[in-house]
């Protein structure tokens, strides 16, 4: 690691001010950022920890009935506290990494990082969540802009994520054998007005919606409705763990399984 300072603000306003310093960077759970620093792949001057900001932590139900998750809430807390309200999301959180990762890693860090194999982006996009920052609210459909790229501006902090609660939802993650991130992960959510299907792990452009499947499932929410639908493997990730064609195939399989499990 290169040298850096650490600041521990206790409010969003303080954090925003701290992040206006040159080369300052937000620190969530550090599960991505700390390994990056250890490998000397980043050299922030100041790390602004979001872990001491009470207003960014916890799970609650908002006035509009949406599930609100503070941007600095750990995966473990989501797994536990969202279970009664949005089981599909809680279940997803409970399978991220290992207990240490779940106790440190945060939803804000995961979404801001937008790793193409991460789980949360599928949940946010698949349930049509709103990403709330210190400056604005961003619809998930506008937030994810390709691998490791989001709509966030420099120094902008995810303070909260608001999830509409679906009638039924499920996330199916096919494990990449080494990292156990998603080789392909599919989040399916059924709402009164339609179905959303979001796919992570597969595309070179990061998380995406499988609109064809959404349409088919909108009229018939059953695994069979996905039969015969395919996605192209051309723009999908090809690496040691699977070709684009394999990932494209898994998108179909995981979607069906998610629909079947959502019931």
């Amino acid at each position: 690691m290169y040298d850096f300072d650490v600041e521990m603000p206790t409010s969003v306003a303080e954090a925003v001010a701290a992040l206006s310093q040159e080369d300052a960077q937000a620190l969530g759970g550090g599960q991505t950022l700390i390994p990056t620093l250890k490998q000397r792949l980043a050299s922030p001057s100041v790390l602004v920890s979001l872990n001491g900001i009470a207003e960014m932590k916890g799970v609650c139900i908002g006035e509009d009935g949406q599930l609100c998750v503070g941007g600095a809430t750990s995966h473990a807390v989501v797994a536990k506290d969202a279970a009664a309200h949005f089981a599909g999301l809680a279940e997803l959180a409970s399978h991220i990494g290992d207990p240490a990762v779940r106790n440190r890693g945060t939803i804000g860090g995961s979404l801001a990082n937008n790793d193409p194999s991460a789980c949360y982006p599928a949940a946010a996009l698949g349930s049509g969540a709103t990403i709330v920052t210190n400056a604005r609210s961003i619809a998930a459909d506008d937030f994810f802009q390709g691998m490791f790229t989001t709509a966030l501006d420099e120094g902008e902090i995810i303070t909260e994520v608001r999830f509409p609660i679906p009638q039924a939802a499920n996330y199916q993650k096919f494990l990449q054998p080494a990292s156990r991130f998603a080789l392909v992960g599919v989040f399916v959510a059924k709402f009164a007005d339609g179905v959303r299907v979001a796919v992570t792990g597969a595309s070179n452009d990061g998380v995406f919606r499988w609109t064809e499947a959404e349409t088919a499932l909108g009229s018939d929410f059953s695994a069979g409705a996905v039969d015969g639908l395919t996605v192209s493997g051309d723009d999908m990730i090809s690496d040691l763990h699977g070709t684009g064609a394999y990932r494209a195939h898994l998108v179909g399989v995981m979607t069906k399984r998610a629909v079947a499990a959502a019931g």
């Binding site: 096919f174 054998p177 990292s179 763990h241």
Partner: protein, 786 residues
């Protein structure tokens, strides 16, 4: 009846108390006053010419003690290779110089180019970034077959080609083998890859060099499986330090799996730099460095052919293997694809003619050397896969085909130079069929099919040569070392014993099982025996731990030394009891005169040895301490039969192991619990190789699987509960304990049964798949199904 002490008892591993409570003393726990830290600048280019290297800015950085580059090591030796293989034409292998720090050229990603010694590791790292380095990239050779083509770039320009050696074994059998193939009624051919692996011991490598200016003594603390070998190699061949001025200590070591046998540049560097800087120098490998500097394992590409007669008897076998050496020869690399591989190609079968051809090849990759099993897993995998394929082609039961061809009479001289002393392959197969409930397989297959899964059964046998090795034999085969082992047994006045052994324990539990042996011989409590190892300053010259040799060779040395102790103690007892020596019996820790009730306790005799007031001083010396060296007269031949049942998910290609049964014949067993643990670990590694682990390079020589994000290690939930048995015991005939060795069996025996099972499952699902190369990842299995 389970015993509660001595040989045959499942004594709890005493060393685990310190390992599991954080009280171990690993090399990284050693910090010496005044210690500086070294950071190695490593090549990120697979092949290139170093056109310039300027360290002046780095030298001026805060905390920097000294910066070293290749020129600083021109005067010392290169890294030595401990085994010289002679090729088919009687020529010695090509042996390139292996510098401590790259000089002139870099030949693999991860090769150390410069070393910065500084007050702190971070300062060393900062300074390393300030080194100005220019490397003119050259085309890299990664693929072995491409590497031996005429126009391939040369890894070493001073060698004639990238071919290290072209080995034929047994060359005299070649013509007869070919004739047998011409006459065969059936020939089964299989091309396969034995995937490159990274050992990944839990503890990465560490070296601390220390130098005492006052006495000119050097000490190296290192994560080694064989400190004496390191002392000899580094002292004599690299740094020119005589052994009496060099001490090598390998304290607690957190797993080795072969990769900590070898002498590495970082060890020589820290020892050298400690003197050059006149202060202790420490290096601790990061996991990233481990991936690109620890010797890798396996990496063979083989074509194997099996000839059968009209009655399905094996009549001949021939193979052609390309074995990757990497960019340089690691310490024992040349022996692995040759003497540790070709000699095992007979397996458990009486195939009369065998010819093995191995082409060892240099490539721009990390050096490859022995990894748990070393050559024997490669042999077993080929043989047991080709037999399975033959059974399928002939439409016969794969177990019946194996049984029909078993060696059944012992001793058995194979056509590949070794003689099996004992074994009972029928017994292990019978036991396997019963334990694995093979008769219930069809019902289990139906149950899987009802769930939409394809179930497969894979069976294989294995044999290995352990207890390495007779020194005179390996000398003829090219070893530049002897392979005996040593032990000093020191009895204290009050009766406790300290055994100093040249074997090294890095997870095997020697401190427990070795103590059981000595305690059993004397008839005293195990806790009266302490096992000391890992320090050249107190253990006699030993060759260390690898090749499942510790109990068979090191244990035998310990038995011999203890026998000497007992013989002398009987003399003392006969004096104390005023009886003739021939009448003295030792039982349950007491010496008695046969046929009388006169006896004297062990502790009285040991006390007399050190307080010799009433003692036959004119006949024997006081004291009770003996040393023995044991050189085995043959290898030992553990063997067994394994069965694996898998389910394949037809939608995704994912394989899950549902049942795994391992029946091993290890000869006599000292501690059944430890043996079971060794088998469990071996199975985990073998299954890891079969399903998960793959060290992959791209065509430019960049390591694609350079961290746990991409290199899949087996985890507990990848593995089933194992069924393990070692009740079939044909004791080794030529060592005093009748033991054969158990450390590698699981890793050797398990990969073929996994692959056999997956092929069987795919066949049951109607897919005409005859082979898939390891690791059988979901993606590969699915691709094979398409």
């Amino acid at each position: 009846m389970p015993k509660d002490g001595g040989i045959g008892a499942s004594s709890k591993r005493r060393e685990d108390v310190r390992f599991l409570t954080g009280a171990g003393n690993y090399t990284d726990d050693i910090n010496i006053r005044g210690q500086a830290h070294v950071y190695f600048l490593r090549s990120d280019i697979a092949h290139g010419t170093i056109t310039s290297i300027n360290t002046s800015a780095a030298e001026a950085m805060p905390g920097v003690v000294k910066v070293f580059t290749g020129v600083d090591f021109e005067a010392v030796g290169g890294m030595p290779c401990g085994w010289q293989v002679t090729d088919r034409h009687g020529q010695p292998m090509q042996e390139p110089r292996h510098p401590i720090l790259a000089h002139g050229k870099v030949r693999h990603v991860g090769e150390p180019i410069a070393a910065v010694v500084a007050e702190t590791l971070e300062q060393a790292r900062d300074a390393a970034e300030a080194i100005e380095l220019d490397i003119a990239e050259l085309p890299a050779v990664i693929d072995m077959k491409a590497a031996v083509s005429a126009d391939a770039p040369k890894v070493h320009e001073d060698l004639t080609s990238n071919l290290c050696y072209d080995w034929g074994f047994v060359e005299e059998n070649k013509a007869a083998t070919e004739e047998a193939f011409a006459k065969a009624s059936h020939v089964t051919t299989l091309e396969l890859v034995n995937n490159r692996l990274v050992a990944n011991p839990m503890e990465p490598r560490v070296a601390v060099g220390d130098y005492a200016r006052g006495t000119d003594d050097s000490t190296l603390y290192t994560t080694s499986q064989n400190p004496h070998v390191i002392r000899l190699l580094m002292g004599a061949f690299v740094l020119g330090i005589p052994e009496h001025k060099l001490r090598v200590v390998a304290p607690d070591v957190g797993g080795g799996f072969g990769t900590k046998i070898f002498h590495y540049q970082e060890e020589a560097f820290c020892t050298f730099a400690a003197k050059a800087c006149n202060r202790p120098v420490k290096w601790t490998s990061s996991r990233t460095e481990a991936f690109m500097s620890d010797a890798h394992g396996r990496d063979h590409v083989t074509r194997i052919e099996l000839a059968l007669d009209g009655d399905n008897n094996f009549t001949a076998l021939r193979t052609e293997t390309y074995a990757n050496m990497g960019a340089y020869l690691s310490t024992f690399a040349p022996s692995v694809p040759t003497w540790l591989h070709g000699t095992l190609m007979a397996g458990n079968y009486k195939t009369p003619l065998i010819y093995v051809n191995v082409k060892a090849v240099f490539t721009n990759t990390v050096p490859v050397d022995a990894y748990r099993g070393a050559g024997r897993p490669e042999a077993t995998f080929q043989l047991e896969r080709v037999i399975d394929k033959a059974a399928r082609e002939l439409g016969v039961d794969p177990i019946a085909l194996r049984r029909q061809n078993f060696v059944t009479e012992f001793p058995y001289a194979t056509p590949v130079a070794v003689e099996y002393d004992t074994g009972d392959y029928v017994a292990t197969m019978d036991k396997l069929e019963e334990m694995a409930d093979l008769s219930g397989f069809d019902a289990r297959r139906q149950a899987s099919e009802a769930k939409g899964k394809w179930r497969g059964l894979g069976v294989n046998c294995y044999i290995e040569a352990c207890g390495i090795a007779p020194s005179n034999l390996v000398g003829q085969l090219g070893a530049r070392a002897g392979l005996y082992e040593s032990a000093t047994v020191r009895v204290n006045a009050t009766g406790g014993l300290v055994v100093m052994t040249g074997s090294h324990s890095h997870g095997q539990g020697h401190e427990t099982s070795f103590a059981q042996v000595v305690a059993d011989m004397i008839g005293i409590d195990e806790n009266m025996v302490e096992i000391v190892h890992g320090d050249t300053a107190n253990a006699p010259m030993g060759m260390g731990t690898y090749g499942s040799r510790s109990l068979a060779v090191g244990g035998s040395a310990m038995v011999r030394a203890t026998e000497k102790i007992i013989a002398k103690a009987k003399k003392i007892a006969s004096h104390l009891l005023e009886a003739s020596e021939g009448d003295i019996e030792l039982k349950d820790g007491a010496f008695s005169v046969a046929g009388t009730d006169k006896s004297v306790a062990w502790g009285d005799v040991t006390l007399a040895a050190y307080v010799p007031h009433n003692y036959p001083l004119e006949e024997i010396e006081p004291g009770l301490e003996e040393t023995a060296f044991y050189d085995p007269s043959n290898f030992t031949y553990p063997a067994g039969a394994y069965a694996c049942e898998v389910e394949v998910d037809p939608d995704t290609g994912k394989v899950t192991i549902e049942r795994f049964t391992a029946v091993d014949d290890f000869g006599n067993v000292v501690n059944p619990m430890i043996v079971t643990g060794q088998v469990h670990g071996g199975l985990a590694q073998g299954i890891g190789q079969a399903l998960l682990e793959n060290c992959a390079y791209d065509e430019n020589g960049q390591l694609l699987s350079a961290s746990y994000m991409d290199y899949a290690m087996p985890r507990a939930d990848d593995l089933p509960m194992f069924g393990v048995d070692h009740s079939c015991q044909t004791p080794c005939t030529h060592n005093p304990l009748g033991v054969k060795g158990c450390g590698e069996a699981g890793a050797i025996g398990s990969p073929p049964s996994v692959v056999n099972a997956v092929v069987d499952a795919l066949q049951s699902g109607g897919k005409d798949v005859t082979h898939i190369d390891m690791p059988l990842t979901p993606a590969r299995v699915w691709a094979a199904m398409q």
